[in-house]
Symmetry: C2
DNA sequence: GCGATGCTTTGGCCTTCACCGAAGCATTTC
DNA sequence: GAAATGCTTCGGTGAAGGCCAAAGCATCGC
């Protein structure tokens, strides 16, 4: 098998604790410098440098140099989905020591970004609320935005591209579909895909949530509290 | 981070060439013995045994002993999806040597099973045909079975469970959603999820396709040729 | 029982690779 | 220019783990 070696190589890149820590940190979709990544992974900059070089040639991250800084980010949404799927398996086979999750862990479980959409308790609560209000319908395989949902997004000023990529035949109007993504901390689906991305972006630009320091965790602002309650019926 | 170590461990399990080969072989969803897996991975049985023990305690495969045989299979659909997503990244960063794909590779590219659904040229052609006939609609995020599609499946005798898992509130009728899955060899989506599984199962039971020896590759029977042409308009 | 088959465990060899300290570039700042 | 900062390359060390041969358990068939 030709692709077997490439498979093992990619998996191996994610299979080192140091590299895993850096990839984990990059899951929020932002670009970070080598020193920052070294710090979160708990290794020295020179070690991180070597790892990042390998991740780069392996096609998992891309580098963008800017002055004396080098910004690293995940190479593609496919990489983010891969990391997410590994996390799901890891969460399933986890040692399940429920005692003592650290404070940082708690913040992550409450609300965090997952590459380009929202996850954690907030992400799941949003998905639940949209389902309960009849604005989306979800199975484990896929989801769809109903007419009520489309009206809501329109009211919020969230633009969704309701066209299909039919190669050749040009764009065509169709239903808005969305992708569910099993949350590794909540074990329940949250919204991913195009709809999840648009919703997450809106939450940030509207000032409903903001990042905690430089982590994937997000905190809900007072304005966000109000809107999540009034618009979605959360809390 | 509590889950970081578990993440690296899971990824590392898939990151060894020997284990990767075995996992790859298990991707067709069947249960294989340690000796068979050793052969496809190109290692000795005792080495394979060690690897399988680690994969088992790591939660990637489950073992089922039957007489003096021990059958191994992927532990869950989540594991299959993880392997699939790693393949996609690996295919994206592949060395792109298009020259010389082996005969086995050719058979795999033509048609194969991917855990519980169809992939390869056939899988993509089926998805394309269903879209072209207006029986399903697909985006990169998700898909939906249209009324025409539901009629087709009904005519074929394929039962689809059109209910949503709304915990607490009991079952509820809804639209049939399906999951697209990017094919690593064709770079185009094929049908996965519940619909993909049901369709694949039907193709086998109706005698339209059958497995080639003991591999993931499938061959199309004469009866299958006719039906794929008459029912779906393929070829 | 006895041999054959499937699988696992043990032991020893050997490669791989993560790690850090120190030195070397590159870029910015003064 | 000189110092400071971000990052990389080099060299050496140490541990982890893949590999196989041989021996040890199980199970099946006669």
């Amino acid at each position: 098998m030709a692709s077997n070696a490439a498979f093992a190589e990619v998996a191996n890149l994610a299979g080192d604790p140091g590299r895993a820590g850096m990839l984990h940190a990059l899951m929020d979709g932002r670009a970070l410098t080598a020193t920052e990544l070294a710090r979160v992974a708990g290794i020295t900059p020179q070690t991180a440098s070597g790892h990042l070089a390998r991740l780069s040639t392996g096609g998992l991250v891309t580098v963008q140099k800017q002055g004396r800084h080098r910004y690293h980010r995940l190479a593609s949404p496919a990489v983010a989905r891969m990391l997410e799927s590994i996390m799901q398996v890891a969460a399933g086979s986890a040692p399940r020591r429920k005692a003592f999750v650290g404070p940082r862990d708690l913040a992550l479980r409450a609300a965090r970004t997952c590459y380009d959409h929202l996850a954690g308790h907030l992400g799941v609560a949003l998905a639940d609320a949209l389902v309960a209000n009849g604005q989306i319908e979800l199975t484990s395989d896929a989801g769809i935005v109903t007419g009520k949902g489309a009206a809501l997004f329109d009211r919020l000023g969230i633009e969704l591209d309701a066209t299909f990529d039919k190669k050749g035949s040009g764009k065509r109007k169709g239903r808005m579909l969305c992708r569910p993504c099993l949350d590794w901390s909540e074990r329940r689906p949250h919204l991913a895909g195009q709809v999840g991305r648009a919703l997450c972006r809106h939450c940030f630009t509207a000032g409903w949530i903001k990042h905690v320091d430089g982590t994937r965790a997000v905190s809900i602002t007072a304005k966000g509290q109000r809107n999540f309650r009034d618009v979605f019926g959360i809390r």
